[in-house]
């Protein structure tokens, strides 16, 4: 247990395979770039995002790489700080909704009985309520939408679908023979849930987390765009909101609109790529089989050569009869 590598932890071997997948690599690079921007925003941004001391609606130039807004803010700096805020909301909201999904899906699915039925009904109710209107109502109801409130609203409305996925997976795993075998070996419920069931749905869990993140970032952008978020904050959503309100389209100030939209699209693509790769890695049927006749033939010839050398006299053993 001294050398820690993914190959040594069998429950994480899918991660090792994931790192070999090309789609996953591209996706991970994209995510890494955004995370880098978010973490080092203060050093990467050139100005304060709220600084309005520049000329309005300047197209991209050496001083303002992404141009300026109608209020004279630096779009590049806004994009960098917006990345930080959007990622923060996305990741946090996704964590909140995943915790909800575990509470309402996985745990009741394992315990079963009346508890499962009650929680399941509750989940179903949440599923039939359309997500965006619910968020809009909730956001409009809470007057001061701080970032924290936004995270909670997005997180607490977007878990139902994933709770169902986790529940059905838990249900099938809970009656598998290896779970029964663990019970008969004396394992308690907590251990069975954490050690037997959870490791078998790690990839589903990861996919759920990423799907949630994508959903949360889109929801944040949506709410902000409708003006229901915290408009004093700088996020991809508020960039779009102000650009739209400031008439960026009418003025042909494409540089004002583009970074927010592109940020969402590219980050979303990154998450989607990882999700596809996860599917391929964990679902063997989607894995492309590599058939390389040339290489097989070479390997075969080499094998024959070795065999002939081992027998000493080539063909002496084959003569027979």
């Amino acid at each position: 247990m001294k050398k820690v590598s993914l190959a040594n932890i069998p429950s994480l071997r899918w991660m090792q395979r994931l790192l070999k997948n090309r789609k996953a690599r591209v996706g991970l690079v994209i995510i890494a770039v955004f995370v880098f921007i978010a973490v080092f925003a203060p050093w990467i941004a050139r100005y304060s995002p709220q600084n309005t001391n520049f000329g309005p609606l300047e197209p991209p130039n050496a001083k303002h790489w992404f141009g300026t807004t109608g209020l004279g803010q630096d779009v590049y700096s806004q994009f960098v700080w917006g990345t930080r805020a959007s990622l923060l909301i996305g990741i946090s909201a996704s964590l909140v909704s995943t915790v909800m999904a575990v509470i309402f899906g996985m745990y009741p699915g394992y315990v079963g009985g009346w508890f499962d039925r009650v929680m399941s009904t509750f989940t179903n109710i949440f599923m039939v309520i359309p997500g965006l209107p619910l968020m809009v109502v909730a956001a409009a109801y809470v007057h001061q939408t701080s970032t924290l409130v936004l995270i909670l609203i997005i997180g607490l409305t977007g878990w139902a679908g994933r709770a169902r996925v986790l529940r059905s997976q838990t249900l099938t795993l809970a009656n598998r023979d290896f779970v029964w075998a663990a019970r008969m070996s004396g394992a308690k419920d907590y251990r069975i849930l954490m050690k037997e069931i959870l490791p078998n749905m790690m990839s589903l869990f990861a996919a759920s987390l990423m799907y949630g993140m994508l959903g949360a970032i889109l929801a944040e952008a949506g709410l902000e765009f409708l003006g229901l978020g915290n408009l004093t904050a700088v996020t991809w959503g508020t960039i779009l909101y102000w650009a739209n309100n400031g008439g960026a389209v009418l003025d042909g100030a494409w540089w004002w609109l583009l970074p927010g939209g592109l940020g969402i699209a590219v980050f979303g693509t990154g998450l989607a790529l990882i999700n596809f790769a996860l599917d391929e890695v964990t679902n063997p049927r989607l894995r492309p089989t590599v058939g390389n006749a040339e290489r097989l033939m070479r390997m075969w010839t080499a094998l024959k050569g070795r065999a002939a050398m081992n027998t000493g006299q080539d063909g002496a053993g084959q003569g027979g009869v």
């Binding site: 089989t289 590599v290 058939g291 390389n292 006749a293 040339e294 290489r295 097989l296 033939m297 390997m299 075969w300 094998l303 065999a307 081992n310 027998t311 000493g312 063909g315 002496a316 053993g317 084959q318 003569g319 027979g320 009869v321």
Partner: protein
């Protein structure tokens, strides 16, 4: 499909010819004459000549079938017996030219009714497969579409392969087939899951012989079934084979079944055919390949009352990517000698049997 088209180019006939020249022998000494298309009773239906199949497993080369030759004659049932990993199923898929993309026919040839399967065009193969040679798989659930009725699946087959047949004609044909495998034609309207395992396997057999093929390859057709049903199916196969006179290549891990059903038997171990000959000779006491002897001793039978009589072979089947040198069976062989570790055994003939072994008494 990419792998297959490459495979075709990679299996030139001259290699097969070379193999024949070096004197590879099979169950029957298959004369390396030009294929004839006349159908006399002793005509070979299937000729496998020096066949080697490799596939890639985790970046390593697995030698699943290694220089195997045998012949199945008209109206004959030939059995291949071996444990999982002996290459017997790979051999079956190679004959059908149904190998997955990570496998390759490295050497040798497969001829059905004199035609080289690996020299057929894709179009030729499509029309020939199922019409001239068909396959019964281990699991009927894999072969049958769960959402279509049995009748629909039969009709579809006739629509594709026998477009000359009218619907009424095809239906008459299907009813006849159902009667042949003794299932009430009412069952045609049902879905696969509504049938028992034995009935599904009968349906699969009916489908395999529907187009009057010359050869039916059966890969563990009864392994998933209970012993009572298993025996019924074996009797059924034998009865139908006797009335329709097609040839069968029957593959199983159970020596009892193969001895019960087949005229000739080949015993496979680690990709090689280590012993072959007529069933009577395989059953007879006397010198056999040590692996065959192990199989006989390890098979539980009702006659083995004394518990000491049941003796396992011991050890584990070999890893095809890391075959032991010399004779692949030597680590498990009770009579292994130093020469078995160093040198691959040559083929020897003892009476009607053909063996790959260094056993004393076999050497000339």
């Amino acid at each position: 499909m990419n792998g297959q088209s490459v495979t075709k180019e990679r299996t030139p006939g001259e290699r097969a010819a070379k193999q024949r020249a070096t004197g590879v022998q099979g169950i029957r000494e298959s004369a390396a004459t030009e294929p004839t298309k006349t159908m006399a009773s002793a005509d070979p239906v299937l000729e496998v000549d020096g066949l080697s199949v490799v596939y890639e497993s985790n970046g390593q080369l697995a030698n699943a079938v290694n220089d195997v030759s045998f012949t199945v004659n008209q109206g004959q049932i030939v059995g291949l017996v071996g444990e999982s990993g002996s290459g017997k199923s790979t051999l079956a898929y190679a004959i059908m030219r149904l190998l997955p993309a990570n496998a390759l026919v490295a050497d040798g040839s497969v001829r059905i009714m004199g035609e080289d399967v690996y020299r057929m065009s894709d179009e030729q193969l499509r029309s020939t497969r199922w019409k001239r040679f068909s396959m019964v798989f281990q699991s009927a659930l894999v072969a049958l579409n769960p959402v279509l009725t049995i009748e629909w699946q039969f009709m579809e087959m006739f629509r594709i392969h026998r477009p000359d047949m009218s619907r009424a004609e095809a239906r008459r044909h299907i009813v006849g087939l159902m009667e042949l495998v003794r299932i009430h034609p009412d069952r045609l309207k049902t879905y696969p899951h509504e049938l028992s395992g034995g009935m599904r396997q009968r349906i699969i057999i009916a489908m395999a012989i529907a187009l009057d093929p010359d050869l039916v390859i059966m890969d563990e057709p009864t392994t998933a079934l209970d012993s009572v049903v298993q025996r019924d199916i074996l009797l059924e196969i034998r009865r139908i084979q006797q009335s329709r006179k097609f040839s069968v290549l029957f593959i199983s891990h159970d020596l009892r079944l193969v001895q019960f059903l087949c005229h000739e038997i080949g015993v496979m171990y680690a990709g090689r055919m280590v012993e072959s000959g007529p069933t009577s000779a395989i059953k007879a006491a006397g010198l056999h390949h040590p692996y065959t002897e192990g199989l006989i001793a390890a098979t539980p039978t009702l006659a083995k009352r004394d518990r000491a009589l049941l003796q396992g072979i011991g050890g584990q089947p070999p890893d095809l990517t890391r075959l032991p040198g010399g004779c692949a069976f030597h680590p498990r062989c009770p009579i292994a000698r130093p020469v078995c570790k160093s040198t691959a055994p040559g083929r020897v003939t003892v009476g009607e049997l053909n063996m790959l072994c260094h056993r004393t008494g076999f050497d000339e």
